[in-house]
Assembly symmetry: C2
Homo-oligomer: 213 residues x 2
């Protein structure tokens, strides 16, 4: 079925897959997923993205080091905050696996944005990242449809200077996220979310019934 | 076919649809699209989103006013910068239509994020908006599959203070984008994008051939 999976099924069974096999991921397959990512919208249709595909052990080792640095703090805090929340602790265990096995993950995809961020306009940051995360979501859905495991993290990029140096990025190019990709050890499957009624408001904050009802 | 449209087809034929009919959009249908939006990932699975669905003419009129204020500057600059680029000028015309007919658009969907943005962490802004734009992209794809027209803009939110007041949002809730939704006057269809080879680099910036090749 692959990329012809029904949209609803792909969305309903997408989840972060962090435990990945070390088996290689075919480059053509990966490019097909990135190609669909590029169909997503960008502000003013600028398509100001660059995608770094990392398989080189040396680059992976550097990013693994930065990931471990930030995870030591962030993961420790998370474990303390989530004490008693079994489901969240299982998530933290999955991230821990990813951190511990980072060098064995076959490929890292790092979407980047070119160009300045309009910091004087309050919506500048939203518009800026609004030009990469729709594409990232397309990529994650395409991976899901192809049966590839993937998950989203920003922790290996905590020092943009170090990350940029590891990837040889010029000054005007900002790495936005790291997506480790590989064949899953686990399985895709349904996720649980807050019911839609909990998060939808009508016309103004706090109105929880549609005006016509 | 609706939401069971093949993933690839939905992505390949998604485009910003700005010219919309005034006909109403059924609330159940809209909720189904938001429900699929909520399947997208959020940082630490926080699901810290709120979705405001606006049909009230008074709230629409306020947002229309703010949109016109920022479009007067942004659209004017755009028209000058894009002189001679027919395709981009057609996009600008479509936005102009949207600005001029904003009050007639049946429904505005405004995804918001709760909670603080970690501004001290360089990746804070990326992680923050990375918890709403994947959901926004799911929503846009679901609209496309259902045949609803939709497009993404941040311009009506240029003054977060005014926008927050119009929507009655509490202080800790940030509006991230405005998505006008309705039945399209135009049609969905293929988009053109830079070829994937142009934007993919292997291992480090500038390496344009995969290492095994």
């Amino acid at each position: 079925m692959g990329l012809d999976m029904p949209l609803r099924e792909a969305m309903e069974s997408q989840r972060a897959i962090r435990r990945l096999k070390a088996d290689p991921v075919d480059n053509e397959l990966l490019l097909r997923c990135i190609e669909l990512a590029l169909k997503a919208p960008t502000g003013s249709n600028a398509q100001n993205w660059e995608w770094i595909v990392v398989r080189d052990p040396e680059v992976k080792a550097k990013l693994a080091k930065y990931y471990r640095q930030s995870w030591r703090i962030y993961g420790g805090l998370g474990r303390r905050r989530m004490r008693g929340h079994d489901k969240m602790l299982r998530n933290i265990d999955a991230v821990q696996w990813q951190v511990d096995h980072f060098e064995e993950i076959p490929v890292l995809v790092i979407p980047c944005l070119r160009g300045p961020r309009l910091t004087f306009f309050p919506m500048g940051a939203s518009s800026h990242f609004g030009s990469i995360y729709p594409a990232i979501q397309n990529f994650l859905l395409a991976c899901r449809a192809e049966g590839l495991g993937a998950a989203l993290t920003t922790l290996p990029l905590w020092s943009t200077t170090q990350a940029r140096r590891a990837l040889g990025l010029p000054f005007g190019v900002q790495p936005c996220a790291v997506i480790p990709v590989g064949w899953p050890k686990g399985r895709y499957g349904p996720t649980s979310r807050k019911p839609v009624e909990k998060v939808v408001h009508y016309d103004r904050w706090g109105t929880k019934t549609p005006p016509s009802a």
